[in-house]
Symmetry: C2
Subunit: 374 residues, 2 copies
C-alpha cells in the first residue's frame, strides 16, 4: 500500500472486479457504516471483502449484540432494481465519479446515476430555493439557469417544487443534474414525474441512497451536501428565513463553495433568507454575469490532475478520534467526563464513539463508562 | 496666530462683531470665492476684512480683469430677506455650526437655517432615494424614519419628492433636517410647501446658497455633500442605476460616512442602484436595527472635544497646489504639459489653477501658457 493510499482524505482505489463491486455496496449497506466509516474500513482493511469479514468481530468487541453485515440478498435485490431503472453505480475514486466530491470528508462512496454521467465532468452551479416560491422567484430561476446553461454550466438542483423545478426545466437542454433525497428511482414530488423522466433522458439523476428508498426528512440535509458539493457555487434564488436553503448555503460555505443569493425587498418574506445571506457576506446576484464573476478561477477547482492528491484537509472526525483515544485508558471513565475534557459537542462525540466502538478501539462499560479496548 | 489656526483643516475662529459677520458673508459671496478659497483667504489674511481688501489686487495679479468684490448692497438685501424668512446664519467654527461638517475639505463657511438649530447637535442619519419611488419604497422610508427617529436619530434629507418626502414626514415629530439645494427660503418642489413650513416649525431647514436662489441642476450635488456630511450614515432606500442617490452615496464614502442600502428584486429597476451599492460593499438594510448596528461607535464621530483639532487629513487640493508650484518656473510652460507632469485630471487641475491665480502665485500668459508669478 503506497503512502498516498494511506492519506486519510485520498479517495480509495475503486473496485475492479464484479465481486469487489458487490462487496463495496454490501459494506456501505451494512449497519453503522456511513461514508466516513466506509472509507476508514477500506483503508484499514485493504479491501471491502476484508472489511466485511472483520465487521462482526469489531461490532462484538464494541459491545454491539447480534451485529450482522448486510445479507447478500439485499444487494442482489438492489442491483436488480437498478438494472430495471437503467441506473449505474459510480464508485468514489473512479474516473466517472464527480471529482468535486473527492474533497468532502463525507463524500458518498457510491452514487446511483440515471442518465448522462458525462455531465459530471463539466463545471456546475447549484441553484436552490423555496418550494413555495413567487412567480418572480421562478422567473429569476429560469432566467439564471438558461443564461448559465448557455455559458456551459451544468445546473444542479434537488427536483423539489418551486425554484428547483424552474431551474431544472430551464436547463434541460443545456445540462442539468437532479440529486434525489431518496432512491434515484423514487420520484418525489409526484408532480415532477415527467420532469424526472426528462432529466433521465437529457440530464442526470443521482442519489447515494439505496434503490427504492422513499425520501424522509433526514435524507434532505444529506442530499443537500451533494448538491453543493458538486457545484463551484450555490445560488440561493428565493428563501425565507430559517429555510432549508439556508442550511444548504451554510454547508456550501463549509465545503469552500461560493455562496450567492438573489436579493428581494425587505417587505417580501420570501426574500428574508437571501437578504440575510447577503448581509452575512454572500455575493448579491442580479444576473448570470454576477454568478460567473464570482466563480473561482477554473484552475482552483478543476485543473488538479487526477494523480495529485487533494489538499490534506484532515477531517474533523479524525482529530476527534485521536483526542478520544488519548484521553481514554484501561480504567473506565464517564462519558460526561470525556465530553468536558475534549473540544467537541455531545452531538459530535456520539458518532465518534460509535465509530471507535465499531472499530473495536474503545469499549462501553456498565453505567455509561468508557475505556480503551483491551 | 496660533499653530492650530494655521492647520489647513481646522475651522477658522468664527466672526465676533457685526462688521466681521458682514464681511464673512461678503467675502463668500464675492466672485471666485468658494468654500476652500474662503478658508484659505481667511487663514492667510487673518480676517475676512483683510481678505476683502486684498482680493482685487490678487485678482489683478492673476490677470483677471475688472474683478470686484461683492457690493455691500447685495449683502444688505440678503440679510433683509433672511430677516423676513426668520433665517439665521450659522458660521463655520461657531458652537451652533454642525460639528460633523468641520471634517469636510469643502465645508460650507456659512449655512442659513430656519427652525430648530439644536437638532444639529444630535446624531443624524441621512435618507435619500428616488423621486419616483414605488409605494413599497415610500413605505420602507416611512418605517425606517419612524423607527430611527424613535431611537433618537435626526433624519436628514433633501425635501425632494418620493423617498425624501416620506422620510421627512415620518420624522417630523422626532426631528428632521431638510437641506435645500437653492436658498433656504425657496421651497422646491412647490408641492412640498406645506411640508417645508412644517419642517421650519418642527425641524430645521438649511442651505449654503444665498437667500432667494432658485435651485439649479449644479446646486444638487453641492447640496448632497451637506446631507451626507451632516450624517453618520447614509441610507439609500430606493434608487435606479445611474441616479443622483448613487452620487450622494459615493460622496458619502469619500467623506468616511457609512453607506447602507435597501435591497430589492433584480427585476425591479427601482432597486438597481441599491443592489449595485450592496454588491460594491454597502451594508444591506432590512430594518432600523440594521442601520443602528452599522453606525460607528459614538466615540468615533461625536466624542471629539471642540478644542481638539480634527485628524490632519491634508486636502487633496493642497497637494495639487504644491505639485503645480514645484513644476512651474519663471519661464512659461503649456497647461497641457503641466497636466501630463502631475498626478491630476484636467477637472482637478482647472480649479487649482484658478485658486493659485487668485492667490497671485501663478500667472497666465498668452497662448495657454503658465508661469510662476514674478
Amino acid at each position: 500500500m503506497t503512502e498516498e493510499q494511506l492519506s486519510s482524505n485520498h479517495p480509495p482505489l475503486p473496485p475492479t472486479t464484479e465481486e469487489d463491486r458487490f462487496s463495496w455496496l454490501r459494506l456501505l449497506r451494512s449497519r453503522k457504516v456511513g461514508p466516513a466509516t466506509f472509507r476508514r474500513l477500506l483503508r484499514e482493511h485493504g479491501s471491502a471483502q476484508n472489511a466485511l469479514a472483520a465487521l462482526p468481530e469489531m461490532a462484538r468487541a464494541a459491545g454491539i449484540e447480534g451485529y450482522e453485515i448486510c445479507p447478500p440478498g439485499v444487494i442482489e435485490a438492489e442491483l436488480k432494481a437498478a438494472k430495471a431503472a437503467k441506473a449505474r453505480l459510480l464508485y468514489l475514486g473512479s474516473a466517472d465519479f464527480p471529482a468535486a466530491l473527492n474533497d468532502l470528508n463525507d463524500a458518498p462512496p457510491m452514487l446511483w446515476a440515471i442518465g448522462n454521467v458525462s455531465l459530471l465532468q463539466q463545471p456546475a452551479i447549484a441553484m436552490v430555493g423555496a418550494r413555495n416560491c413567487s412567480s418572480l422567484g421562478a422567473r429569476m430561476a429560469r432566467g439564471l439557469a438558461t443564461d448559465l446553461g448557455g455559458k456551459g454550466h451544468v445546473i444542479v438542483s434537488g427536483l423539489a417544487r418551486g425554484i428547483d423545478t424552474a431551474a431544472h426545466i430551464a436547463a434541460l437542454t443545456s445540462g442539468t443534474i437532479a440529486v434525489m433525497a431518496g432512491g434515484v428511482d423514487v420520484i418525489y414530488p409526484a408532480e415532477n414525474t415527467e420532469l424526472a423522466h426528462n432529466i433521465a433522458s437529457n440530464g442526470l439523476r443521482l442519489s447515494e441512497q439505496p434503490m427504492g428508498v422513499t425520501p424522509q426528512a433526514r435524507h434532505f440535509p444529506r442530499r443537500n451536501r451533494i448538491i453543493s458539493g458538486l457545484a463551484q457555487a450555490v445560488v440561493v434564488v428565493e428563501a425565507a428565513a430559517k429555510s432549508g436553503s439556508l442550511i444548504t448555503a451554510r454547508d456550501a460555505l463549509d465545503q469552500g463553495r461560493e455562496v450567492l443569493a438573489v436579493p428581494g425587498h425587505p417587505f417580501d418574506a420570501r426574500a428574508a433568507g437571501c437578504n440575510l445571506l447577503i448581509r452575512d457576506g454572500a455575493t448579491l446576484v442580479r444576473s448570470a454575469e454576477d454568478v460567473i464573476e464570482a466563480l473561482p478561477q477554473k484552475d482552483d477547482l478543476f485543473s488538479r490532475k487526477p494523480d495529485q492528491p487533494p489538499a490534506p484537509a484532515a477531517p474533523r472526525s479524525q482529530d476527534l478520534h485521536v483526542q478520544i483515544l488519548e484521553r481514554l485508558g484501561p480504567s473506565p471513565i464517564a462519558e460526561d467526563q470525556l465530553l468536558r475534557d475534549i473540544a467537541a459537542s455531545a452531538g459530535e462525540l456520539g458518532p465518534a464513539l460509535v465509530d471507535l466502538e465499531l472499530d473495536g478501539r474503545i469499549q462501553r462499560q456498565p453505567g455509561g463508562l468508557l475505556s480503551l479496548a483491551g
